[in-house]
Amino acid sequence: MTKVTMTVNGKSVSGEVEGRTLLVDFLRDAQRLTGTHVGCDTSQCGACTVHVDGLQVKSCTMFALEADGATVTTIEGMGNADGTMSALQASFQEHHGLQCGFCTPGMIMAASSLLKVNPKPTEAEIRHHLEGNICRCTGYHNIVKAIMAASGQDVSAIAAE
């Protein structure tokens, strides 16, 4: 077992891990941050997406040891300081961008990562950016719409006749 220390959602945390301990297991099991989900074992579904040093990564495809010293943000750290939801989270609720909620944390992490570098993405850019995040419920319609709306774009005419 090796000790790792990292900053998770602004707090310094540490714990003993094995070499094979995945970052997602460290977050879910040791830190009890169960908002990060595991939906596959081939690194495709994106339910486990978190930010490591500001970059979008799949926490199921990174060892906890590799995040030693890193700054990690999970869905639990995405709200506003006062505990309310961020504009992006609120937009998902406003536009019904989630159903069962299982892929949702990954979607929020991926979308926020996109908006950081591309504040007003087009529909095509959003769809391309979500290539590594699978949702089985929404058909993506309202996810894409919610992200467009969160970036300040007018979505009232989407798919209108």
Binding site: G35, M85, L98, R127, E131, R136, T138, G139, H141
Partner: protein, 787 residues
């Protein structure tokens, strides 16, 4: 002006905040003190005899608590099948046993052989590798047709063959149907495959068993769409635990789509093992395991024929289907290709004569059961592809041919045993043509042509039977359970309300929509109402959520319970207002006496019910809580017209969905936002089936598409924005809300639209291809173009 509250409004979903902030509580988020982990050693061959299992080395591995094999289940029941189909000759289907852990033989890749319980997941998996397993591999049966050959290896040695049943419907009509074909002016024939799918809710299945020795109670936390069904099946048929000693909890569940209806071996195992080792036992499926242990869907091979008269009126339909059951009968498997499929073969058309034959076949593959739509997508796909093919052969407009044959008078008794209570197929077709801008298609086709792409338009209609189901009817058809639902409306002293419902929400938003109904009925704010679901110890005995039944059946139960509450509340109000009960009106949360200005608030009455100081105790009991069970009088029949436009790249065969429109008639709608979301998701799954998804076995019974590396899930860039509309409304005539159900429509209505569009696109490129089997991958489309 859209409503801002109550029925017809679209309030934001209250469940969203916890999901958006990482506070959801899914089964895998549950960890109990002293918990152990189980790993299942699964068969890696499709068919074989278990010669020996040597666990001695594994038992001494670090962390191993106990290893179970089939022998440990002596005296324990097998997994039950909830539906018995009777064949053409009046005989019951062949029904093999389904042990929790394999005994004697393994019958599909993924069949669990041994279960290793250890202190950690990895220790359990390490020990699994130390188990000595001697399996004599047998030839596998994979193809349904060859499985019925006389010399085919038998999946179950105790059965006479691999035929589960040979079902004819309606058997008495067969001769008349054959005769109609003799007389037909034109017969269109189509052979097709309805591709095998894996439901793939994003949350893999999880089960945690927890036995409490102090009170001899077992609790199962599980990813289920119907906790009471699991309690009934597992308690009564598998483990012999009486209901009062067994609690089943389905907390937040990350999608179901049918595959979380069924009672699975892993659920029974963790409950059983926890009783044995006196510690909690947890199983979390990996996605790889899900592909070989979650029930699959669809997998039909069909030949369908349509007889038309000289005026293009439909005279008769005849269809022959092979339906794959997989290696064992999953919970509702036998009903899917029969009563959920054959009864829908009339579709939206007044075809007077229909005969449906279905041969259900055992193969060495994962069991097949209901997946979003369950039988109805298979019926709709073959019928709507057939009508399109007929139109093409006859040189008539496919929309006109449909319109000509539409059912227009309701109620309408089909020749396949169901009676549509209401509908307006012309209206949905009109609406679809409008929102799709069908008249602008030709211009769009030319624009695509200018880019070197072939554009096609596909349309179809659908009808489904949902709101499952009238118990007396399904009982006659072989169901081994009632399909009512139940709700308890508990009014608290200060007027807030908790509603305990049998339905389960795993994405459908019941926590938002059900309170809308109660709030509307009483005239109080929705925030005053909460629902409780998913815990058998808290909710009445309801049958859960599937078959687009939650609002139509459980919602109706809730309305009935609320009506009882209101009746009692009016009696209390009459007492408080010193008026006759008949004169009491309830509006906007206030009781008033008709024709006077006397009134009292909802809260005054509820407080009186629980603090009955001034109360007619001689006439009515204190308290304000009522339960209702609701058994529907009929199925509900949502219907609609869908359209899809595709572009085909003739050089690569790649299909791109350019435009998709759905005009649905769901009857009354409680929350338009949620209904539209359900349709979006259904359409994406339908597009997935049409273009991307396929569970493919090789001849040895190995699943070739066993992960997301090979099983193509629809992604954001595979689909467009959808145009959806539910303004056509013919309310259901037999439930109190006039609702029909919307969960499955998208998945039922979309595959034929997509395939019809691709066939049309190829035709516009000069390639007259009669049919391409789903999924229409670039490779298949390219081959069809270059045949």
């Amino acid at each position: 002006m859209p409503k801002d509250h109550g029925i017809g409004a679209s309030p934001k979903r209250r469940e969203d905040v916890r999901f958006l902030t990482g506070k959801g509580q899914y089964t895998d988020d549950i960890n109990l003190h002293g918990q152990t982990y189980v790993h299942f050693l699964r068969s890696d061959v499709a068919h074989g005899i278990i010669k020996s299992i040597d666990t001695s080395d594994a038992e001494n591995m670090p962390g191993v608590v106990r290893i179970f094999t089939g022998a440990d289940f002596e005296g324990v029941g097998g997994l039950p099948c909830g539906w018995q189909v009777t064949d053409r000759h009046g005989q019951p289907m062949q029904e093999p046993g389904h042990p929790v852990l394999a005994r004697g033989k393994v019958r599909h890749v993924g069949d669990p052989i041994a279960a290793i319980v250890a202190e950690t997941k990895e220790q359990a998996r390490d020990a699994a590798e130390a188990i000595g397993l001697d399996i004599e591999e047998l030839p596998a049966v994979v193809d349904m047709v060859s499985a019925l050959a006389p010399d085919a290896p038998k999946v179950h040695d105790e059965l006479t063959s691999n035929l589960c049943y040979d079902w004819g419907f309606v058997e008495e009509n067969k001769a008349a149907v054959d005769e109609a074909f003799e007389k037909a002016a034109h017969v269109t024939t189509l052979e097709l495959i309805n591709n095998r799918l894996v439901a793939n809710p994003m949350e893999p299945r999880v089960a945690v068993g927890d036995y409490n020795q102090a009170n001899d109670e077992s609790t199962l936390y599980t990813t289920s769409q119907n906790p009471h069904v699991i309690r009934l099946l597992m308690g009564a048929f598998v483990l012999g635990i009486p209901e009062h000693k067994l609690r089943v909890v389905a907390p937040d569940v990350g999608g179901g789509f049918g595959t979380k209806i069924f009672h699975y071996a892993e659920e029974a195992f963790v409950t059983f093992a926890s009783r044995q080792i006196r510690r909690p036992v947890k199983w979390t499926s990996t996605r790889s395991e899900a592909f070989m242990s979650d029930a699959h869907g669809r997998d039909h091979k069909t030949k369908i024929e349509l007889a038309l008269d000289a005026d293009n009126n439909f005279m008769a339909i005849r269809t022959d289907t092979y339906a794959n059951m997989g290696a064992y009968l999953s919970t509702f498997a036998p009903s899917v290709p029969t009563w959920l499929h054959g009864t829908l073969m009339a579709g939206n058309y007044k075809t007077p004569l229909i005969y449906v034959n279905v041969k259900a076949v055992f193969t060495n593959t994962v069991p097949v059961d209901a997946y979003r739509g369950a039988g109805r997508p298979e019926a709709t796909f073959q019928l709507e592809r057939l009508v399109d093919k007929a139109a093409r052969e006859l040189g008539v407009d496919p929309i006109a041919l449909r319109r000509q044959n539409f059912i227009t008078q309701f109620p309408y008794a089909t020749p396949v045993a169901v009676e549509y209570d209401t509908g307006d197929y012309i209206a949905t077709m009109d609406r679809m043509e409008e929102i799709m801008d069908i008249s602008g298609f030709e211009a769009r086709r030319k624009a695509s042509e200018a880019k070197g792409k072939w554009r096609g338009l596909g349309v179809n209609c659908y009808i489904e039977a949902c709101g499952i189901a009238p118990s007396n009817l399904v009982g006659q058809l072989g169901a081994r359970a009632g399909l009512y639902d139940a709700a308890t409306v508990r009014v608290n002293a200060t007027g807030s309300i908790s509603v305990m419902v049998g339905a389960h929400s795993h994405g459908q938003g019941h926590e938002t929509t059900f309170p809308q109904v109660i709030a509307e009925m009483i005239g109080i704010d929705e925030s005053q109402v909460d629902i409780v679901h998913g815990d058998s110890s808290k909710i009445p005995f309801g049958m859960g959520t599937y078959g687009s039944r939650s609002l139509a059946v459980c919602g109706s139960a809730m309305v009935r319970a609320a009506e009882k509450v209101i009746r009692k509340a009016k009696k209390i109000a009459a007492h408080l207002l010193e008026a006759s009960e008949a004169d009491i009106e309830l509006k906007d949360g206030k009781f008033s006496v008709a024709g006077t200005d006397k009134e009292c608030a909802w809260g005054d009455v509820t407080l009186a019910a629980y603090v009955p100081h001034n109360y007619p105790l001689e006439d009515i009991e204190p308290g304000l809580e009522e339960t209702a069970f609701y058994d529907p009088a009929n199925f509900t029949y949502p219907s609609g017209a869908y359209a899809c436009e595709v572009e085909v790249d003739p050089e690569t065969g790649k299909v791109t969905i350019e435009k998709f429109a759905a005009a649905d008639d769901f009857g009354n709608v409680v929350n338009p936002m949620i209904v539209e979301g359900q349709v979006h998701g259904g359409i994406a799954q339908g597009i997935g089936q049409a273009l991307l998804e396929a569970a493919v076995y090789d001849e040895n019974g190995q699943l070739q598409s066993a992960s997301y590396m090979d099983y193509a899930m629809p992604r954001a860039d595979d689909v467009p924005f959808y145009i959806v509309d539910h303004s056509c409304c013919t309310p259901c005539t037999h439930n109190p809300l006039g609702v029909k159900g919307c969960g499955e429509a998208g998945a039922i209505g979309s595959p034929p639209a997509v395939v019809n569009a691709v066939i049309d696109a190829l035709a516009s490129g000069g390639k007259n291809v009669p049919h391409i089997d789903m999924p229409l991958t670039p490779h298949r489309v390219w081959k069809a173009i270059n045949q």
